[in-house]
Every structure is written in structure tokens, then in C-alpha cells.
Assembly symmetry: D3
Homo-oligomer: 247 residues x 6
């Protein structure tokens, strides 16, 4: 029996989806297939509130319109909005890479820190920690000043930037580092070598945690916050057909 996990990229860049799915597949168990999902609309990268909120809707739309069966969804937008909506939308387990990375970091160290892309992404990460309930374990969130779209242009330079910013985060009191962007996926090993601390790649961990929940037969709770929506609502707008029809 195989497990299928959708790795939902938050932006519309298919190359990034492919990269995320690749890292996720590498991290997965033998029997797991990781399928990348790219939203049909929205920005080519998400680095702030406007883009984050648009992607939240677009990712739900994409997953709702996904024709094939799947066992879990990994939401591959670090610090981005939407995990609660996805949990209301579907019954399968939903693992946000922000949550997975933070929870893994809490298992590996006493205080963690986060390195993200641009300063504009930091406030949304703080909000995500606040509603997640783990803000007290975080010592700092810092930006490496690398645009999402530029991560892969010069991977050595990206690694250098993460190393430098990572050292600042460790100096803030962290003993474990979280990679604060899905685009950084796969860089954890190199950074562990450079920094000498555990470095958590949320995509990899989220795939493993999603597998874990699937293997144990767990489903999203549907008696409270994530109870299905009323079926009889009107929905306007051409692009949301799948979302409208889903429940």
C-alpha cells in the first residue's frame, strides 16, 4: 500500500514546485509518493502579507481541484497563511512546514531560531508562531536578504547568506536552526556542517510527519474549528469552481 502526499507549493512557479516535491520525495519513506501541486493563480513568490493571503486561497483552490486521491497535504509555504483553511476543507491530515519545522526544532533543541528570505516575511512568521502557540521557544527570526526567486540562481551564495544570518540567530540564543522558506529545502545538511547545530528543513520533516499521521490512521478533527462548511452557499468567481464544489 502506498501513501500519496500532496506537496502544495504556495506560489505559481512550477520550478519551485518541482524542487519542493523532489526534496520531499527524497525525505519520504519507500512507499510514499510525493506529488507537487502548483496553484493556478497568484504570485510567483510569496514574501509578505498580500502574497501570503492570496496564496492561502489559491492553494485551497488547487488542492480542492486536484483530481486524484491523496492521503495527506503538506503545505510548503513557510510562515504563510492557510493551514486552518486546508484543515477545514479536507479530512486528510494537513501539515504546514512551519509547524513541522518548529515542532522538530523543539524536539532537537531548547530554543530555536529561524532564517527566512526577506524582512517582509518576518512579521507573518511571528503571527504564525503566535497562533501555533510556540512563540516562547523562538529566540529570533532573521532575514538573509535573499529573494525567493533568487535562491537557486547561485546556491553557494544562498548558502553563504544562510550561514551568516544563521550565526546571528545562534548568537541570539538558539541551539537549533529552522530554514524559514520552502525554497531553502535541501540546504539543511550543508548548513549543519558549517554551523555545528541541527538545521531543520520543514519540507522534509513535514513529509515525514504527514506519513506518520497517515500510517497511524489519523484524520483532521471535524467537530470544532474544522467542521465542514455549509453546503448551500453561493460562490462567485470563475477560478473558485473547484473550491465551491468540493464539500
Amino acid at each position: 500500500m502506498t501513501t500519496t502526499i500532496l506537496a502544495a507549493n504556495c506560489n505559481t512557479d512550477p520550478a519551485m514546485t518541482a524542487a519542493i516535491a523532489g526534496v520531499g520525495q527524497s525525505a519520504a519513506s519507500a512507499g510514499t509518493t510525493v506529488v507537487g501541486v502548483t496553484p493556478a493563480w497568484g504570485p510567483s513568490s510569496a514574501e509578505g502579507y498580500v502574497e501570503s493571503l492570496v496564496t492561502a486561497a489559491a492553494v485551497m483552490d488547487a488542492v480542492a481541484g486536484h483530481g486524484d486521491p491523496f492521503d495527506a497535504v503538506v503545505m510548503a509555504g513557510f510562515g504563510e497563511h492557510g493551514r486552518e483553511g486546508m484543515r477545514q476543507l479536507i479530512a486528510q491530515p494537513v501539515v504546514d512546514i512551519t509547524e513541522a519545522a518548529v515542532f522538530a526544532a523543539c524536539l532537537l533543541g531548547h530554543r530555536f531560531g529561524i532564517v527566512t528570505t526577506m524582512g517582509s516575511a518576518i512579521p507573518g512568521i511571528h503571527d504564525s508562531l503566535a497562533t501555533m502557540g510556540t512563540a516562547g521557544r523562538c529566540r529570533s527570526v532573521r532575514a538573509a536578504d535573499v529573494h525567493v526567486s533568487a535562491i537557486g540562481d547561485d546556491i553557494a551564495r544562498t548558502a553563504d547568506a544562510l550561514e551568516g544570518t544563521g550565526r546571528a540567530v545562534l548568537a541570539d540564543g538558539a541551539d537549533v536552526l529552522v530554514l524559514g522558506c520552502a525554497g531553502f529545502a535541501g540546504l539543511d545538511v550543508e548548513l549543519e556542517r558549517r554551523l555545528g547545530v541541527p538545521v531543520v528543513d520543514g519540507v522534509a520533516v513535514a513529509v515525514r510527519f504527514a506519513e506518520s499521521l497517515v500510517a497511524l490512521g489519523k484524520r483532521t478533527g471535524k467537530t470544532g474549528a474544522y467542521a465542514p462548511r455549509s453546503a448551500d452557499k453561493e460562490w462567485a468567481g470563475p477560478t473558485l469552481g473547484s473550491l465551491r464544489a468540493f464539500v
Copy 2:
């Protein structure tokens, strides 16, 4: 000199937009015009996470595509997502009715409580209070079990439901009550009469607070969380043309 305030309904029901704009206009100063805005896409009412997140994107799209000048935006979706995105999108003051109602309640009492529509809306309100930073002042959030779409069907019955649930909230220790849905706008006076405590209608207060910020010449801060997005991003999707082109 007149002030124009956009009152952005979060759902696609034009009747509700009209009602919100009407209450907002009644609450406004003589020189203020309140203009209702209805998203072009999304659900006919928002009562949970899926709908809330879709409306966040749709409301930004609607405001970005609004052709005429305006001085401030009131976001008339209680507990709904999106205020941070709107603040990044535009430079004019943005007042979420959740914030306005909560801040007014903190000025009028020591501990407040909220009555909303359906239980599915409660978790999102808690999240909104958490990121707003005022959760410690809130004693309880309760649902009157009135669907947004049914509020106006029998206004006396809605008032009765709010009164009953309001009494439970007061028994939880609140000395001021917040109406937890834009659709309840205009019911504050009747409920004050029945309950003997201040009852805050976020639409009315938000219009007044938005006027205040405009009158004082205040604009949204653009050096941190709400700095404008990079202009060169690709945007996919037919409905987001205005949003894409805005900055």
C-alpha cells in the same frame, strides 16, 4: 473637504454590503461618505476558515480594483483574515472592525466578551485576538447560532438570540459586549437597552476611527511589515488583474 471611506464587505452578498454601508454612513460625521465595496468572487457569507481566507484575497482584489479615490478602508468582516494584507496593499489607513470594536470595548469596560454568529467562526476570532494582542482582555466568545444569511430574515429573533447569548457572555465576566459580525451592525442600541451594558458595533466604531486617522493625516507605516511588494513579480489568474497591477 470630504472624506471617503470604503466599507469592504467580506462576502459577495450585495444586500449585506448595502446594509453595512448604511450603518457606516449613519455612524459617520457630516463630511464623510461611506462607499460599500463587494468582492467580485468568493462566498456569499464567511463563517469559518475556508471562507475567511478566500475573502481575504477577494477583498484585496476588490479594493485594488476600485477605480475612485478614497481616504481609508474599513474591513467589515469580523474576525476575518486580511487586515495585514490590506495594510501592505495600500497607504491609506485600514481599520478592521474586529480591531475597532475590541479597542472601543477596552475603552468602555475592563473585560469584554464577543457574540458571533456560528461556532465555526469562533476559532478565527480567537486567532485574530491573538495576533492583535488583546486576548487577555477577552473573557469569552460565544455563538448565537444565527447564520449570517439569516440575520435579516427575522431581526427580532436575531436580537433575541443575541440577547440570550449576550447574557451568557456577561456571566463569563464581561462588562462590555462586542457584536461579532458585520451583519449585526445597527443592533447595538437595542441590545444596550436590553442588557444594560455598552454594546459595540464594530462597523460604526471603525468608520469613526478611520475618520479620526484620516483627519489627523495618518498613513500606514511602510518601513516594516507593510512595505510595498516588489513590483516585478509574475501573477497568474484572470481575477487578480487589479491586484497584480496595483503597486
Copy 3:
């Protein structure tokens, strides 16, 4: 119909009362009259706990003894004690400039910071934020090392000091600045020009927010923390005659 707002200075310096009332009047709507109130006793300036607590009593005494009718009270002592007592004392809306400034800052930015006069005033401001429930939104409180009594001696030098300390507060992570003393009222525009971020003058905002509550017919909640005192208590002391007789 006109609205009368009492702007209660916390110290006994009539020149500062006049300045506060002047800024408040400038900020007010056309139909509003701002009337300055000066306590009959207490210190000539409040920059720490002893003075703050004395002014809390003296300001209540002054407002209780105010002979003419009024519609709301603005408490013009930033970070000073007393707002809860005033809310118990009277039924009209009470707006502390600390609250008004903080709430406005939360509408204009994601994280705020405060510049106050002397270091001795900082702890009281932290306490005020703690009971207000918004401490989590504040990044730092710093002192410009300008005595209250010296603010007006050399306004250019005061502005320079605020600018320098303001830059340090912004470097702490704030994207909006709050002026942490009623004596700084009127300097917000100049500092916005210098710093490029929204700068909030609590006196101006408090007058506008108080007008808002009056216009909407709101009164302080009287069923809990602010229920009237028992009428039959003995009061000793010559200066508290008005306070004793008020209810």
C-alpha cells in the same frame, strides 16, 4: 449640538494644560470644544511612580469638582495611573492618551515603540501596557532624557532628542512610533517628516476617539469593574470634597 471634552492634564502646570488643550482643540472636529482641566494639587510634572499615583487622585478630584457639563474625558498623562478610577467615577467615556496612542499605533503598524521623557517613566509605561493587554505589540520603550518641564524650553532640541531616540526605537523593530508624553503633543508631524514612519500623538488621537464614542452614544460600562461606589462612605481630607460628594 456641540461636544465638550475635558482634557485633564495630570500635573499642576497650567501652561502645560493650555498647550494640551490647544493641541486637542486643533485635532478636534468642528463641533467639539476641548476644555483643559488642571488638578488643584500634586506635582508640577509627573515622571515616575510617586508623582503618577498622586496625579491619579488629583485628576479624579479635579474632574469630580468640574462644575460644567461635559461629554467625555481625555486623560492626558502618558503612562500615568488613573484611567480605571475615572471610569468608575463618571459615566461619560474616558480615553487615556496611552490607550488611544497604542490602539492607533496598532492600526497603523505591526509593532510599535514609545519614546518618553525620562527613564523613570518607563516602568510605569510597561505596567500600563501590561494591564491594557497590548504589551506584545510593543518592541521597546526608550527615554529621550528630556525633563517634562524642559520640553518647551527649546523645542528644536526636544525634536532632535526625540528623533535620535526614535531611531533607536525603530531599530528595535518598530514600524510606528508613539510619543510617550502629553508634553510632546504637536510634534508628531515634524517627526514623521524626519523619520519616515507614522508618529502618534496620543492627545490628538484621544480627542478624536473620545468624540467617536460620544457620537455613537457610548457610555462606560457600569455593571462590573466600574460600578459606582457605595454612597455612604466617610471621606476625610479637605481637598477631596468634590470627589467625596460626586456620586
Copy 4:
């Protein structure tokens, strides 16, 4: 060598001062003299914000005007304002009975609860816990509906009321009870007998803790919040002569 501790009643009722000083003296070590201090002005009892804030000023005035030397001050107003001001005013240790009772309760149990006089006193107690930093250890604060002035009228009835309300507090999850009024001083032993849990009388504990700090040669810190005021300020008002002249 004897130790002199001022037990400062917060109200102007000399009988209550005598009762407080009596309980304090009974609780004290052999070498300690407890001297009651009664404010010269203010209310005959404090059961809410107005009265609490007036007593804060009046108690400082009374202690500042106390002619004889003393080694420490116990502030015998449970949940009342003023401890921070007293710490700025004098160099000797200052122990608020709220603090002493709460700290002792934290040593004797895992979660405490408080029984106070009237509901109007509860919000101020919550504020005191918030600035003290121990709110998380408190399970509930409940009122026995006994006016301060009526405590001694029928001591058996007062004990019955405390027992009943105390049982409700224990049912809220507390394993130690705090007497939330200086007027309850001396009732702890009887209530321990009835309820089977530790019952903390703040007056007794505060006297002991104050003795402890004196014995160890401790003084209030004067480099931060409690640094002395500037000496050159003007003070208006006949009753505050001692306060004005103190530093």
C-alpha cells in the same frame, strides 16, 4: 536591637488600623514593633478603583509624614495601588500584603485562589497580579459579598461567608487560599480548620517577610524604577506637604 515596621492601613478607619497592627504584632518576632499608620485623608474603606487610587496617594502622604524612624513598610491594602510609589518614596523595604500573600501561597501550593470582599475589588486584584507577574498561578478571585466596613460586625458570619466562597475557589482548582482583604487578618487559622487547606493572611506574612528583608540588610533598589524623584518640583495642595518635602 529592635525592628520597627509601619503597617500602613489604606483607609482612614482607625479601628481597622488598630486591628491590622494587632494582627501584625501577633505575627511578628519578639524584637519587632508594628506601628499602625492611618492616612489623614481618603475613604473609610477601599473597595474599587476610585478608592484604591486615592489611598495610594494618601498612604504615601502618611508614611512621608511619619515623624519617627522605621525599618520597613507593610502596605496593608490587598489589591490596592501604591506599592511602586512607596518604593520610590523611601529606601526601606516595602512589602505589599498582596505580594506577600501571593508569594507565600506559591510556596505552599501549586495553584492559589483569592477570596476578597466585594466584586468591585476583583478587577484591581487581577491588575495587581498582572503587574506582579504571578497571574498564571492564580485559579480564581471571588468575592464573599462582605463590605469591608461590615467584616467585624459579625465575625462568625464573615467566617461563614469566607468559608463558602473559599470552597468555590478550591473547586476552581486552587490548593491554597489567600485572604483578599487586610480586614480578614486573623481569620486564617479558623478557615484552615474548616477548609483543610493552607490559608494565607497577607498581613501576617508581610510582617514576617519585611522582618526578613530588614534582618538581611536589604534596601529598595534605587537605580531604576525607584530612583528618587527630582528634588526641585513644585507641589500644590495643602495636604501633601509632607510628601512634597520628603526627599
Copy 5:
């Protein structure tokens, strides 16, 4: 390549160790071996602070003295002390079932609740949540009044007790339930059937999360809280030989 996970029972009951290891093995992937570890000293069950703290030391001693290689440790004492010590002691990943269960619950619902054995275990669970940093997500912790040693005596009666207490926890606002004792391992499926919400068995989840960290090559951070101890300390006591010699 196989993965070996030590499942460390916190008490000295070998039957419970066998049961825990059995549930863990059932939950594990094909290539994983779960090896039960029983402390050589300490209580036969842990239901409060004394026992919890003894087991923390005894479990470290048992793992330190474990002769065979292993890849990770699962600490199978719900709410018990010790995870931080184990993380300092060894370099392999350490997963406390309290953490694993809580993190999984946060992925499956919006607010969780916990059902434990006896009331005496509740305070330690609250402390564990406090240091873990997720207390804000927990709605209630309740005891089923089933002694650890009696869980297996009548498994139907245990399930009934968990169901009843679980319903109370759900009524407190939880939408996912956590089994608050390693001895409850294996009852999650039956309770899900009865209660209609996700029920999390920490042993099963912890094994899966430990596997995940091992598969991804993660190790405990050793630059901060969990840096190895100084090697040159004296250790007294016959039973702690292995612990003393470990580093």
C-alpha cells in the same frame, strides 16, 4: 538498514514496558525495532511529582547503561520529567510522548485536551506544557480516576472511564483528545470510534516522529542547553555507575 528505538518506560513494571514496546512496535515502520527499557530502580508507577522526579533519574540511568546501540529514545512517561536530561545525556534524538502527542494534536485540531490517570498527575502535565510552550493550545486536562496499575485489569472499564472523561474534555472546547498516560497506549482507535474526534496515543506518534528524525539524520543540538557535561565530576551512589561513566 534497520532503526532501533528505545522505548523507555518510566516505571519499574516490566509488564508495562512490554505493553508500551508492543504498541510502539505496532506503530513503527517495517524496518524499525522498538526495544523496551525498564529502569532498574524507582516506583512501579508514576502518578505525581515524587515519582516523576525519581523516574527522570532512573530512566537516564537505564538508558546510559543500555549496552546495545540504538538510534533514538522515546520517553514513555506522559507528563513526566526528564526529557531535557536525556537530551543532554545522549546525542541521538529524544522524543517525549508528551511532546509527540501534543504536537500531533496541534496538527489535527485547533484546541486539544488531555485525559490522564489520576488527579495527582495533572499539575505535572501543566508544568510540562508550560516549558514545552504549547499551554495556550490546551483547553483542559482531566483525570479519569484510573490508577496506572489498574489500567489493564479491566480494559473495558478503562475505556469507559476514558470515554466519559473525554466527553468532558471535549465539552471544554477541545476538538482533539490526547491520551495522557503511556499505559493507555493502544486505546486510541476504540476511543475515536466512540467519541468521533481524533484521539492521539503519544507512544505511537513518538515512535513515528523519532523514526522521522532518524531518517533525516537529525541529532540533538549540543551547543546550548544540551551540551555534554564536564567529564571530571565525582558521582556517589552504587546505582548510578552507568550514568556516571557515560560521557
Copy 6:
């Protein structure tokens, strides 16, 4: 009538026990005898989680096996685990020097800071503050980089290290300093002289606070977290005989 207080050293170094008991005796009232207790097993010093958790068990074992009567226990391991277990074990008052020092610091200043021995001890101190509920009053915890075992080797050098680190803590915003190791006991006066702020020695304060609780007849609450253990449990392990037999 004399009072006997056990001062329980957390490590197995009898010289440190003697030093602690000596400082405690010097701080005590005339009628108090301070008796040092040394655990029979465990590490010669505790500077991190492994050692802290072992000492928690060993100290309970030592006190449980103490043959002579006593009136209270002072737990002389700063930031170490175990106070809750001791409170469950015995009925007499238990005062952890961490609690005593922090509570005294809260009475003497507005914000405190802590100087401890090694960086490895800092995380445990943060955890202790978190469960104690006073973390919000603490500005920083810093290590002087002095091993516990080296404190007495060169007391002048130790004082110099504390002074330097203490200045850094004061610069972090503290106005009172806490000595974060029982081994620092007795250095408070010298550091007060050098730093000009109150410096709190937890051993001295804990002895005084323990005396206070004894004098007032207080006992640990036994209806909740600290209710006695079930008597019928099996205990394995030769060294825990006294602990097993105690209740």
C-alpha cells in the same frame, strides 16, 4: 522553642553543604538551627539538566531518610528541579532558594536579573521561572563562567566575575540582582557594595522565609498537586529505601 530548618544541598560535596548551612545559620533568627543535608548519591556539583534531575531524586531521598525532626526544608540548588516533589513528600514548608530569591527580588526592585555559574545552567533557570510564574519580571540570566567547584578556590576572582557579569545584567534593565547559585551564598554584601543595587542571596532569604512560614504555622497544601502518594507501590533499587518507606 527552637526551629530546625534542613538546608538541603543538591550535590554530594560536604564542604559545600557546610558552607550553605553556615550562611543559612548566619542569616537565621536566634532561635533557629540550620542543619545541612547532603545527598548520599549523585554528582559533586549540578550545572545542567542531567545533574539537576539526578539531584532532585537524591535530595528527596536524603530528606526522607533524615532521622531527626525538622520544621522546614530549604532546597539549596538554584534553578534545580525538585521543589514540587519535596512538597509532595513532606508536610512541612519547603522553600526553594530560586523561589525565595526571586520573590525577594520582586519586593526590592521592578525588574531583576540573575547571575549563575555556567551557561549550561541557564536553560534550567528559565524553566524554573516559567513554572514559578515570574518569568515576566526577569530581564536576563547570564553566566559568570565559574564552575561550581571552583567558586571557593579564589573567592576574589569569583567576586570579580560576578561583578562583571552583574554589570551586564544591570545593563539589560535589571534594578536588582539575584545570585544564581547556592555556592555564591555570602557574596551578596560585597556585590552590593560594588554594584550599588540590592543583591539577593537565595540561601539567606530562603531560611528567613522558611522561618516565617513555620512561625505562622503554615504547612504545605495536601489537597491537590502535593497530596500524599498511594502507599502501596512497589519500589525497586537499594538506595531509595528511605524514600520508599517514607509516607
